[in-house]
Symmetry: C2
């Protein structure tokens, strides 16, 4: 997340130690995917370029530090262990798998400013590579020999896929309501993010209450993160966001701004919007008119408000943790989630 947020001066030391931790996570990640077969290795190297913000490994390390009995120490490496590094790589690998498969589903050509696996190597390689990443993450997680982690990661991954299936089922369903939208988000995004927070805290021997606080933080952060993603898909520019934008409308995904808009619009505006949405898959220019009309119902600012409230809930969830640089960094990260433009 470092590149996506302003680091307060008093957290500079912690930020350095987090950066060093992420280097260790990357090295575990790469080691776990170092197949003896050159074609498999080549595909995995491509995926390593997908790794951007490393949000989930950062959360493993920071929750590991913030929920640790010796939380007040300001360096990650004095409280976190090799177990945290492995868990960071595990959750990142599950996340990478979903990115690779999402790109197949979305027929996306660009991801983190590079061509997608499906674009370069075909859908078939992308499907199999995603499977290899999921399986490798479980293999890596199982190497820790601790059922608490395999249980948490297994559960989060299954919930995540359930969320993706639900989302798929509701494609082009513009009667989707907010509760169902949140149910999908909770599963497809918040489950793995809160799992990252959970396993980080558990690996530090945190108390049940502190583990619970980290889980709630992660869940709210995850929801806010996805809402911001959905907003950026409507308003961002491809060069800034670093991946194909405007895809949600093109693929018939109803996200929060649109759901709010359709609920608030009068009958005429609602009908016009639904017509534009129906045309958008064939005529992407029509998506722009939809985005324009969101202004009339203040749907973007409504959505930003919801994301802001969730960030507040995330901050509140960890207010019970002992004050520490890591806890302060978690708070700063929550703020960064909604101020980011990529």
């Amino acid at each position: 997340m470092k590149d996506a947020m302003e680091i307060p001066t008093e957290l500079a030391q912690l930020a350095d130690s987090l950066a060093a931790g992420l280097v260790r996570v990357s090295s575990v990640f790469e080691g776990a995917l170092s197949s003896e077969y050159p074609p498999v290795r080549r595909l995995c190297t491509h995926v390593e370029r997908y790794r951007g913000k490393m949000l989930r490994p950062s959360l493993v390390l920071l929750c590991g530090a913030a929920a640790h009995p010796r939380a007040s120490e300001s360096s990650i490496e004095t409280v976190c262990t090799g177990m945290h590094d492995v868990l960071g790589a595990v959750v990142e690998m599950v996340h990478m798998a979903t990115l690779v498969h999402d790109d197949v589903l979305d027929e996306a050509d660009v991801r983190r400013r590079g061509a997608t696996v499906n674009r370069l190597h075909g859908n078939e390689a992308a499907v199999m590579l995603g499977d290899y990443l999921i399986a490798s993450s479980f293999k890596l997680c199982a190497s820790l020999d601790d059922p608490r982690f395999t249980r948490a990661v297994g559960r989060a991954s299954a919930v995540l896929c359930e969320g993706e299936l639900l989302q798929l089922h509701h494609r082009e369903d513009y009667s989707l309501d907010e509760p169902t939208y949140f149910e999908i988000l909770d599963r497809k995004t918040a489950s793995l993010i809160s799992c990252a927070c959970e396993v980080g805290a558990v690996a530090s021997g945190a108390s049940a209450a502190d583990v619970e606080a980290c889980i709630r933080y992660g869940r709210n952060l995850g929801l806010a993160f996805q809402i911001q993603d959905d907003i950026l898909d409507l308003t961002g520019r491809e060069e800034t966001v670093g991946k194909s934008v405007g895809k949600d409308i093109e693929k018939g995904k109803a996200t929060l701004p649109l759901i709010h808009h359709l609920a608030r619009a009068d009958e005429t505006l609602r009908a016009t919007t639904l017509l534009a949405l129906a045309d958008a898959p064939r005529d992407p220019a029509r998506a722009a008119t939809v985005v324009e009309s969101l202004k009339s119902t203040d749907s973007l600012s409504y959505s930003r408000g919801v994301a802001r409230d969730l960030v507040g809930a995330a901050r509140a969830a960890i207010s019970t943790l002992k004050p520490s640089p890591a806890a302060a960094m978690l708070t700063a990260m929550a703020d960064a989630v909604i101020s980011r433009d990529h």
Copy 2:
């Protein structure tokens, strides 16, 4: 496997108890996939129809019985436990995931006499459903709280995907040699089958030597099984095999009969075959001419011979187990693998 083999009379009682065991496995399988969301449940119900021979769960139960210290008892339920049932469901779920994704890769329309998921619900649902199955299998495996099983299943799944990626890399590579073909088979098919044998034996508290014997049995059986599959893809009829046939040539997969043929054919025949193979993806009728020309090099009977030798190796591997009805059934199953026509 019951429907694919003749059960010797003296094994009738064991066969009944195996059938009862498979019913328990199915019920664990269905329970683990009973999502609270109707659209997810509907997709999973469709997958249940894919379940055919239940080879892998049968191997979990039979190796569980044959490698058990009380192996001589002829009933599965007196030696196997609920843990075996869960493990049977776990390996079957990993297998189902690969079938669902294979059908996406192969653009197959028919599987076990029904329409494939990708045909009915689109590639996107099939990709996500496969992911949901893999994740659910790990979640289920983790529920056993025993790292030996998560480690074995995680490793086998990663190896399996590596095999699929290797196979993909060698599509339309008609210079593929036998060692590489076997390396692919070993990974994409034999890894999960031997894992089924391994976890079944481990769950019974088998000795290290007996676990090792089961692993070797599974590995050889898996290789023979896949060679027979590859032969049936060339010679079978869709109504008997129950899935789309002739797909390997159409999709540019070099399998053992073809590899042998290309190595043995004289220069002219080799050139004719390569031309027909190059045309086959656009003109499936050309595949028939390739199958016809396999006769001139005896490549089908060569392949059958290799499969027979592997079955012999599988039988030999478990000859060190205590004699028991379960061990006898494993031997009968090995024979059935190459005599089956579907």
